[in-house]
């Protein structure tokens, strides 16, 4: 029989995690419950759905902090996220459909860190830092170093993701988001990307580009970020970005798309981030 606990507070949740690292930590279930009747029955469930200590979205101190238990519906509707962290709000609106957005959580997305997780390129471009806790204490980890391979992360067996901290971009930073799938709503991405580009007098000062579905994990396109520095926004930066990207990613053929298609689309997505609209 599967054990089930709904912790009263964070201390109890962390103690459970330390004592039963094999138990499933379950929030909205949009990942872990897929094909549930064909899955191995978990030894125990730690239920963190609507668990207050990791819920909520707060604004302050030059950043927005999103609790790991916040759903994509909450992220998409939050006025400060829509205004200041537009790529994340736009990604949230395209994560599955309404039913998935109502249940899928920020913590679940970063916990699984699938290469096609729609929010993850936005977290990379927006310089997200994760807050992680265990009975051993709290720690911070930049999301850019979080993923260690195909659906593997730095998360230790006794840890929980608590929150995502996102600095507010400065006034001279332009952000962008683009997802390409078979249809606009509720499709698994073929390629998606997000950008945060700091511009001074029409020249790129620095850029962060996050990409999904082009590698075994969500990645920062660091070669592109270097290539566009000092380039004039518009055709010049766009072409530099396109050339650098081709040399830096090697997407794969699979059931959803081909490597050649993904490469061409990723180039277009990245180049478009630098076009002047």
């Amino acid at each position: 029989m599967t054990a089930y606990v709904r912790p009263r507070d964070l201390a109890e949740a962390l103690a459970l995690r330390a004592e039963h690292p094999d138990w499933m930590v379950l929030a909205g279930g949009t990942d872990l419950m897929v094909n549930a009747i064909h899955q191995k029955v978990p030894a125990g469930i730690v239920d963190l759905w609507r668990f207050a200590p990791i819920g909520g979205i707060t604004v302050g101190d030059g950043r927005i902090t999103i609790g790991a238990g916040a759903t994509w519906t909450e992220v998409e509707r939050h006025p400060a996220i829509r205004e200041k962290l537009a790529p994340l709000a736009l990604a949230a609106r395209e994560i599955g459909a309404l039913q998935i957005q109502a249940r899928g959580t920020v913590g679940g997305n970063v916990g699984t860190s699938s290469p096609v997780g729609d929010s993850l390129p936005a977290l990379l471009a927006l310089d997200c830092e994760l807050e992680v806790a265990s009975v051993r204490g709290h720690r911070r980890a930049p999301y850019s170093a979080w993923c260690t391979g195909y659906r593997t992360t730095q998360l230790a067996p006794d840890e929980l993701v608590i929150a995502a901290h996102l600095p507010l971009p400065g006034a001279n930073v332009r952000t962008a988001w683009r997802k390409v799938g078979t249809r606009r709503a509720q499709s698994i991405s073929k390629v998606m990307g997000a950008a945060a580009i700091e511009v001074d007098a029409g020249v790129v000062v620095s850029a962060r580009i996050g990409l999904g579905a082009v590698a075994n994990r969500p990645i920062r396109a660091t070669a592109v970020e270097e290539a566009v520095r000092g380039q004039r926004l518009g055709a010049q930066a766009a072409e530099a970005a396109r050339a650098a990207l081709r040399a830096s990613i090697a997407p794969i053929d699979d059931v959803r798309s081909t490597a050649a298609y993904r490469l061409e689309v990723a180039e277009n997505v990245v180049a478009r981030f630098f076009h002047v609209s």
Binding site: M1, Y4, M33, I45, A97, L98, I100, A102, A185, Q186
Partner: protein, 168 residues
């Protein structure tokens, strides 16, 4: 584990594994077979119910998470007063009059999701083109394999207009 949840406004007592899907508890334990299983993967929306007022896929909900929570299934959409015949929700009536159903497997999920969309006021004040685009986006998680979505969208818009008219 022993669970108490509110289903369609009434208390329901269930003894089930916490890992059992809400979908299976509704159909097998509570005999509410209006909710259908399509894919079991959260892609098709046939099993959509409302959980604490949000439209969710019941195939992705572990029933252990539902203790003390409110569930509304397709059986709970119509208004029922003691001693009177039940009155279908405007969305259900519109699905009938517009012909927004064929084989019926996706219909309960569409009805629940559409009631959620219409009652949340998401279409309020939108012109026709905007409302149609919104319905297509908000119902994108409900897949019909019989035919297109034209008549379903017509029905949702008609229901929204009817309720708007009744309010003003």
């Amino acid at each position: 584990m022993k669970l108490e949840l509110e289903v369609n406004g009434a208390a329901a007592h269930v003894e089930a594994s916490p890992w059992k899907r809400l979908l299976d508890v509704l159909r097998e334990d509570l005999r509410l077979t209006g909710t259908k299983e399509g894919c079991g993967e959260g892609e098709c929306g046939a099993c959509t119910v409302m959980l604490d007022g949000e439209a969710v896929n019941s195939c992705l909900v572990a029933v252990g998470q539902c203790h003390g929570r409110k569930v509304v299934t397709v059986e709970g959409l119509a208004a029922q007063r003691a001693g009177e015949a039940e009155v279908l929700h405007a969305v259900q009536r519109a699905l009938v009059t517009c012909g927004g159903a064929q084989c019926g497997i996706c219909t309960p999920g569409i009805a629940v999701c559409a009631v959620h969309v219409v009652d949340s006021g998401a279409l309020h004040g939108a012109d026709d083109a905007t409302a149609r685009a919104k319905v297509r986006e908000l119902l994108a998680g409900n897949i019909c394999r019989c035919t297109g979505y034209q008549l379903i969208v017509d029905a949702v818009i008609a229901a929204a207009r009817e309720l708007e008219g009744a309010r003003s």
